[in-house]
């Protein structure tokens, strides 16, 4: 029926994927391969989240245009506590504005390609257009609280990455999670069974959980581990899903 608003439907999502711009990601992580594999695996929604940069989000978004895959621009920010936070938007402009803030707080240390990889920039055809000159696997001069509040102020969604890992995680570095009001959503690694994670981290009770690949290699990509119930693949719907409003939902796949 025309004019009747559509209810939520399932979006298979992988909300944490790196390109070859990220240190230690393989060079094959280019827009064509990422979008192609998302189509193969039936992923409807993929977020590009390189370390402290959004340099390849435009290329992946343009590459996916006209396909069944929606690309959300994002970033994996490393705070001064060495905690990794995922920051997501649904439009390029907002995320590029965010990137300008992060770049201004990133130490000006030249990349050492022999140690961290070339940090490749791509166009939408997957051609290399340049390299990012500064070392990206570094902490920006912002605290977890500053990153969260600034991201929220700019209309972006922010949550702790891979809280079950021994390194770069909120729980390992800062001991425990803040109250759910600060982070209503957390990310859990794809490798760890959810039941085990919930037993190890009782503070997950009352929070939404996304399971993401954190793919640095093509072989890390696979069928989605998170189902989002959204009316449309936009950030406002994702916020409603995190809050569990209006039949929207975030559902990790067991």
């Amino acid at each position: 029926m025309k004019g009747v608003p559509r209810g939520p439907r399932v979006f298979s999502a992988d909300l944490h994927v790196h390109t070859a711009l990220s240190p230690c990601a393989e060079t094959e992580m280019n827009p064509l391969n990422i979008v192609g594999l998302c189509l193969d695996y039936g992923i409807d929604l993929v977020a590009v989240t390189d370390h402290n940069t959004a340099g390849n989000v435009r290329a992946v978004m343009e590459c996916a245009r006209g396909t069944a895959v929606t690309v959300w621009p994002g970033m994996e920010v490393q705070t001064k506590e060495e905690v990794h936070l995922v920051v997501l938007g649904d439009n390029l402009e907002a995320v590029l504005k965010w990137e300008a803030l992060i770049t201004s707080r990133l130490p000006d240390i030249p990349n050492r390609p022999e140690l961290f990889g070339e940090q490749l920039l791509f166009d939408k055809e997957g051609r290399v257009t340049g390299v990012f000159p500064r070392q990206l696997l570094n902490s920006v001069d912002l605290s977890v609280d500053e990153v969260r509040t600034q991201a929220e102020r700019m209309g972006l969604i922010c949550y702790p990455a891979h809280i079950d890992r021994p390194a770069y995680s909120y729980v390992s570095n800062l001991g425990f999670l803040p109250p759910p009001g600060d982070f209503d959503l957390v990310e859990v690694s794809a490798g760890t069974p959810l039941g085990e994670v919930k037993r190890r981290f009782p503070s997950l009770e009352g929070r939404g959980i996304v399971v993401s690949s954190d793919a640095h290699r093509l072989t890390d990509l696979g069928p989605a581990r998170t189902r989002l119930l959204l009316a449309r693949p936009i950030l406002g719907e994702f916020a409603a899903a995190i809050a569990g409003r209006g039949g929207r939902n975030v559902e990790p796949v067991h």
């Binding site: 506590e81 060495e82 605290s143 977890v144 609280d145 729980v171 390992s172 570095n173 800062l174 001991g175 425990f176």
Partner: protein, 109 residues
């Protein structure tokens, strides 16, 4: 030895918890991963770290350490200092590195 003796010997700046400088110090622990500190620091240790997030106060209370030395000229956040004053945890600042602080503290104890 008391926290105040450590403050004096190492020339530390008392950033919070000034009322609790008479606490006893028996040992020390170095670490910046709070999960590790929670598991290993002992009561009456002084904890040497470069973390300034407010969770350091909760970890200090939990482990019953005597105080936190925030080194490397790191400025703890305001929330951290307010919470430390409320909980009575001395937060001591220095421009020395963790290595320098630990070396001098070990020689004192």
């Amino acid at each position: 030895m008391k926290v105040s003796d450590v403050v004096e010997a190492l020339g530390l700046q008392v950033a919070a918890g000034e009322a609790q400088l008479s606490r006893e110090v028996l040992g020390g622990y170095c670490g910046d991963l709070l999960s590790d500190v929670m598991a290993r620091a002992k009561p009456k240790d002084v904890w040497i770290t470069i973390q300034g997030h407010q969770n350091i106060v909760a970890v200090a209370v939990l482990t019953e350490i005597s105080g936190v030395i925030v080194c490397g000229n790191v400025e703890p956040e305001k929330d951290t200092l307010d919470r430390a004053d409320r909980e009575g945890i001395p937060i001591l600042r220095t421009s020395m590195t963790a290595f320098g602080v630990a070396g001098r503290l070990a020689a004192l104890l």
